[in-house]
């Protein structure tokens, strides 16, 4: 086919804009500095930055301990969890071709909830030793069960979605039964369900960053191809994609990130829906090429939400899930309404 070159041809523009990614990374940095500085005791911004980068004349004594051992791991954990939830949400929305899909869709939430309830009811005292492990295993097992009962691997996104709902209800039923039998577990389970970052310490940051960063890197690697999953399987096959393989990789990585996030922080809702839609709204792209931007934006969103949770009713602390839901629920309705109008 002859190619006519026309210098005045309108540029179609790159589909991924590095500037927006760079800006979102800067926003994350600013929000993180804000997050470690503000609290019941305010720390000086410049001294915080000096301390973080190892320059002289930084914070000393108790303030230094407060920054490095309490606030920094907490802000880092919030950022990791936010990045995990927003990227997994974006990926799930693509895989299931459903703008309202969230990272907990395939039963991860109720599986993790059941795991956490088991940990709390069976451990007596040392709740926080077992809880992350139990909820991680519970979340992963629930997603595997969803795959198993949906029959063929990814025969059809819709059948997987329905299996996810069934597994989710089943897990929640057992969880409710256990709570009934152990009423003393109600309060810790409830506060875990609302999400909390109070267990943050360097050890938690270390293991969760290992899983979450690897999962996000995998997702960013395959993200260019993910757009192909928005087409029918026959179309994406003809464009050089193996849709089943790609879906399995994407869902496995997204589930690893989600289960880790849930294990580290409980069930923090709406991040996986709000942030991807916000980023898509700003970049005007449905595509997943902005996945890195979504990771930074999700991280910044949750750091900010956690800041609100710590400071709004200071010295008391609000569950972070309350904050994200307070912003997220109206947004959810907005997306629903816009989708209805759009269609």
């Amino acid at each position: 086919m002859p190619i006519r070159r026309d210098p005045s041809a309108p540029q179609m523009g790159p589909m991924w804009n590095w500037r927006i990614t760079a800006i979102s990374a800067l926003v994350l940095f600013a929000v993180a500095v804000l997050g470690v500085s503000l609290g019941p005791i305010h720390l000086n911004f410049w001294k915080v930055i000096k301390t973080l980068f190892g320059f002289p004349h930084g914070l000393q004594g108790q303030e230094r301990v407060l920054l490095l051992d309490l606030r920094l791991p907490r802000v880092l954990l919030a950022a990791l969890v936010g990045a995990a939830l927003s990227t997994s949400g974006a990926v799930y929305q693509t895989v299931f071709r459903n703008p309202l899909a969230d990272p907990y869709l395939l039963g991860a939430a109720s599986g993790a909830g059941l795991g956490a309830t088991l940990a709390i009811t069976s451990s007596g005292g040392n709740v926080y030793g077992l809880l992350p492990i139990f909820s991680f295993v519970g979340g992963v097992l629930a997603v595997l069960t969803t795959f198993f009962i949906s029959g063929k691997f990814f025969a059809e996104p819709n059948s997987l979605l329905l299996s996810g709902i069934a597994v989710g209800s089943f897990g929640t039923a057992i969880q409710t039964y256990l709570q009934q039998r152990h009423s003393s577990a109600l309060r810790p389970v409830y506060s875990w369900i609302l999400g909390e970052l109070t267990i943050a310490n360097w050890q938690v940051v270390r293991w969760s960053s290992l899983y979450i960063v690897s999962a996000i890197l995998i997702l960013i690697t395959v993200s260019k191809q993910l757009d192909g999953l928005l087409l029918s399987d026959e179309e994406s096959f003809s464009l050089g994609i193996n849709p089943n393989k790609l879906r399995i990789i994407a869902v496995a990585a997204a589930t690893l990130a989600t289960a880790t996030a849930v294990a580290a922080s409980g069930l923090i809702g709406f991040v996986g829906i709000v942030v991807p839609h916000l980023v898509r709204g700003i970049t005007h792209r449905v595509t997943n090429r902005s996945l890195a931007t979504m990771a930074f934006a999700g991280a910044a969103f949750l750091v900010l939400a956690d800041l609100g949770a710590r400071t709004l009713l200071s010295p008391a602390e609000l569950p972070i899930g309350v904050i994200t839901a307070f912003v997220g629920a109206p947004f959810f309705l907005f997306v629903l309404r816009k989708k209805r109008v759009g269609s």
Binding site: M12, Q225, L230, S232, L239
Partner: protein
């Protein structure tokens, strides 16, 4: 040359394609016709390489199942329409296999621009794909297939959602592919249109091939009527062009 030998496709217990033998020459337009459930779409999907089969289905002497080394464009009857993607991004996806996903070569950009002009989509290139009318969407699908620069294009009912004017303009766009050496295989319910564009017509019925030959001879054959249980009438216009319509009196 595509050569099909003893091709059988089963879905569960049901036999969808039943021991089919067929040769399809290169650089031709072959149209599969037959009533609903004859197996036309299944044959297209088998030709694409996504449907498991027994027997042999070879394109340039290579089995096609799961073979992604070939360059085959597929235009589905009911596409998944991604929300939030513009027409030019959608058409640009046709270049993904050549450029690598997420990359756009300079050549691809100018090629896509030419294709958008050729398919009368240029003014719409920044429009969201979800906002397109049925006719425009069909053109966008064809444009994406053209962008693939395929050797073989498979079209499932490319005109079913279109008005008469757009049926012709879409088929004209597809016909251009023959000039650049592309083999075209389509299904079509409108046999009159099929006879206007395709050189060869394959008549299918209940998973079998009843007849395969040049369009003009197939149109007037008893096998064509048989495939539709004699529910069609074939007329010839003064110009010599055949017209096939459903037999109204049959129902009475």
């Amino acid at each position: 040359m595509i050569s099909i030998k003893d091709l059988t496709v089963r879905i569960g217990e049901k036999v969808i394609l039943d021991h089919i033998d067929l040769n399809i020459p290169k650089n031709s337009w072959t149209c599969l016709v037959g009533p609903n459930g004859a197996g036309k779409t299944t044959l297209l999907k088998a030709l694409l390489g996504v449907t498991p089969y027994s027997g042999s289905l070879r394109d340039d002497n290579a089995e096609v199942y799961r073979n992604q080394k070939r360059n085959v464009a597929f235009v589905p009857q009911q596409p998944q329409i991604p929300a939030g993607m513009t027409v030019s991004e959608y058409v640009m996806m046709g270049r993904s296999k050549r450029d690598g996903w997420g990359n756009e070569s300079v050549r691809s950009r100018s090629l896509v621009q030419n294709i958008l002009e050729q398919t009368q989509l240029f003014g719409l290139h920044n429009q969201y794909i979800t906002r397109l009318s049925g006719g425009e969407m069909q053109r966008a699908l064809i444009a994406r297939a053209l962008a693939q620069e395929p050797k073989l294009i498979l079209l499932d009912e490319p005109t079913s959602a279109l008005d008469l004017h757009h049926q012709i303009s879409t088929l004209n766009n597809i016909e251009l592919l023959k000039d650049v050496g592309v083999t075209i295989i389509s299904t079509m319910h409108d046999i009159t249109l099929a006879a206007m564009y395709a050189e060869r017509i394959v008549v299918m019925h209940e998973g079998k091939i009843l007849l395969d030959g040049l369009a003009q001879s197939v149109i007037h054959s008893p096998e064509l009527k048989m495939a539709f249980d004699n529910r069609i009438n074939v007329y010839t216009l003064d110009s010599g062009r055949p017209v096939i319509v459903a037999a109204k009196d049959y129902l009475n």
